[in-house]
Point group: C2
Chain length 444, copies 2
């Protein structure tokens, strides 16, 4: 609608005020502003435009603070892991060849000459027909080249065991470098660190880890009708929802939200908030009030900043069409739709990938990274020429997932809470049929 | 092995020391200790035993601090949402009946009598043949009962429009309570808050939110061979891996890890660390050194605490069998296997559910909550009588996911990093075949 062709041609007082601002203040950028109306992009174009944004810098942190952070360098092993020959079982360290031929019926006898203490260099070694008790993780003594599992050992007295099964050389042991070789790439730059990754880094002695800085996002809610959650609600007013939804969305994607405030539809006040945000934050997310005037205001304000470049003015998706993505001083300036349902879908589809790029993460952040195969329980109608995102509920039936489309008037919040995810109806499709297999992109 | 039947019957010096401790210090709990050897449980028994643990208390926090936290009360709407009749489109508010019969060929004429300002009580109303300009989210003026979308309006002059399509009463508007009705349950107790949930709570004016306290977990790494990550590595020593892996695992599951230190295999020192942990933390996770002596030590220490009750001593899964779960003063005391691979699998299968219960979360925390359907690329062998968890890598081929089992000697860390998830081979199965459909439980 916003960018449709039958927009009334008259200018409202609110718009006139905006126009006056940017025509006066932006010195002849009118032409640019007009061209912007032709910047409606397809989703895949938008995603590839986001590739121009990169990580926000590096820092080095203690290992216990880097869970879920993104490596800023390749981590190369400084040593072999394990560093010594280790037993992988509880049992007895022996010379493998002394067990050859041993069986239940004809066990081999060994003299127990000691026990390997954990964390100590074994004293003495193992000679022919000798054994030393060893625990999982223990270091093999000199002479031994394998471990007989405790299940196959029977102690006759404190100094003698019977072994009822033969082992091969190196059986039940790992050798230096078997796990990770010195000089090998352990984890690549751009990898987001999981619990097990921290374990491997700990095992190799990395106490401080180079990671990309977490991007900060300045969040501004605009609109004359918006009041803060704690305020008394006047007639025609609504509470600021996007601050919380977008803030949590940032956190869920490894970014740090910084709420700059609620801004009425005023050029000066919006410009000063954006300016303040740009001083510190790595990105600006402005979520537009719903009025037509506000939308023009967003772009008019963005245009006044250095190196302004408009990348996207409208995306051929529904909901979420009236989205603006621009760039100033290398930082993304984003104008999101005012309604939380549209804003959140644009966030899932485009802002998660943006945050992934600002975080230096290898993952694309795309919605396809979190999905599930299901079958549609009902037909979905859709307009050709745009991607439609339909919220669905999931239920399990007959060993497969069924996706129930959630209908309802636009402008509702409750379907967001009821839904488990969404189904995309492609640009060149007029709808999907009951029983069609679909990929459900899961909400967190 | 640990709980097997052919364990050598002699007692090592380390074990003798432990035995001496608990026979002296625990006054006749020997019987209990011996019975514990019969507590090997099936996975489903272990999960149902965890049901006895519950949330750790409540707190009330500002809305912007409750992302990913768990509601401790049902949230019931204190008001209708929206609170007034709102437009869901940009267009003109009119009396629907005045548009009846309007079409492209025969448009209806309306006098524009004003514009609805966002966030303001409309001044004046709409009478017969009159229209007021309105934006999405605007409040309908008196007299109007629907909105004509801007696409179907053509302005003839500043005071007149042509409407080329009829609307029904209430078209393109939402009425009070259409989204959420006053008194309805918005989000239930036990729900973990997502970005969209924060949005709904904001929309309803909830500024402070009752949530369950995040459980704290005291983490202790035991074993004479364990040294801290920063220390010089002596012969036979290994670095403390579990501290980091289990700590991050806690964070990933909404809990707060508190590292209490590395403990050598000493009864007194371990007891004092556990005691210290129990004073503040909601749970104790001790990850055992690998030696047989250490394992007995864990149980001997646990037994000395008030109301000690042994719930699980060994689980019929692989890896992860030598796991201890006990209870003292209502808090869980857990002894996890020493090797990080086993510890992490036990954490995924049992500790995530434990943390879910301590968090008061409705979700079970079970691994089935994060899985993907795939086909096995190779046979997997398994022993009947236990659940086997096999790590797999995933790859996409011919429109489906293939799961490649990752083999390698036990005791390696690298397969944890290479794997995307794991496949369960059930208790009564001797293996799985190439081509079998499997559920892959995804690592984070």
């Amino acid at each position: 609608m916003y960018l449709g062709c039958k927009v009334p041609k008259f200018v409202t007082p609110a718009e006139a005020e905006v126009h006056q601002h940017w025509t006066v203040e932006t010195e002849g950028r009118l032409q640019l502003h007009m061209e912007s109306f032709f910047k409606v992009k397809k989703p895949e174009e938008v995603l590839s435009l986001l590739d121009q944004f990169g990580p926000c810098g590096e820092e080095e942190l203690p290992l216990d603070q880097v869970f879920n952070r993104v490596l800023s360098r390749d981590m190369v092993s400084p040593e072999d892991l394990p560093g010594f020959v280790r037993s992988t079982m509880d049992g007895y360290a022996v010379r493998a060849k002394d067990t050859f031929g041993a069986s239940e019926g004809l066990p081999a006898l060994f003299a127990v000459v000691g026990e390997i203490k954990m964390g100590e260099n074994p004293t003495g070694g193992v000679g022919q027909g000798q054994a030393m008790r060893i625990s999982t993780g223990g270091m093999l003594p000199d002479g031994a080249d394998g471990v007989v599992m405790v299940e196959y050992c029977h102690s006759l007295d404190a100094e003698t065991i019977e072994v009822s099964s033969a082992i091969s050389p190196l059986e039940n042991v790992i050798q230096p470098g078997d796990d990770i070789k010195k000089g090998s790439l352990v984890l690549p730059k751009g990898h987001r660190l999981r619990p097990q990754d921290l374990g491997v880094l700990a095992g190799l002695g990395f106490g401080r880890i180079p990671v990309f800085r977490q991007p900060t996002v300045a969040i501004i809610s605009t609109g004359d009708e918006i009041v803060s959650v704690g305020a008394d609600l006047g007639i025609g007013q609504v509470r600021d929802i996007n601050r919380y939804t977008l803030g949590a969305f940032c956190r869920a994607n490894g970014a740090i939200p910084e709420f700059k405030g609620i801004c009425p539809d005023s050029f000066e006040r919006l410009r000063s908030l954006v300016e303040e945000g740009l001083e510190k934050a790595d990105a600006i997310w402005l979520s537009g009030g719903s009025s037509v005037g506000t939308r023009d205001l967003t772009l008019a304000v963005f245009e006044t900043f250095d190196d302004f470049e408009l990348l996207v003015h409208g995306i051929s998706i529904s909901p979420g069409k009236p989205t603006i993505i621009a760039r100033s001083g290398g930082k993304p300036l984003v104008g999101l739709p005012g309604h939380v349902a549209s804003a959140l879908i644009v966030a899932e589809v485009f802002m998660a990938p943006l945050l992934a790029r600002l975080s230096g993460a290898k993952e694309t952040g795309g919605i396809h990274e979190r999905h599930l195969e299901a079958r549609l329980s009902r037909n979905i109608e859709s307009k050709s020429g745009r991607e439609d995102y339909i919220r669905v509920r999931l239920r399990r039936e007959g060993g497969e997932w069924l996706a129930d489309p959630i209908y309802g008037k636009s402008g509702l919040i409750s379907p967001l809470v009821e839904g488990h995810g969404m189904v995309k109806v492609g640009v060149n499709t007029e709808g999907l049929y009951e029983g069609d297999p679909v990929d459900v992109f899961l909400f967190r």
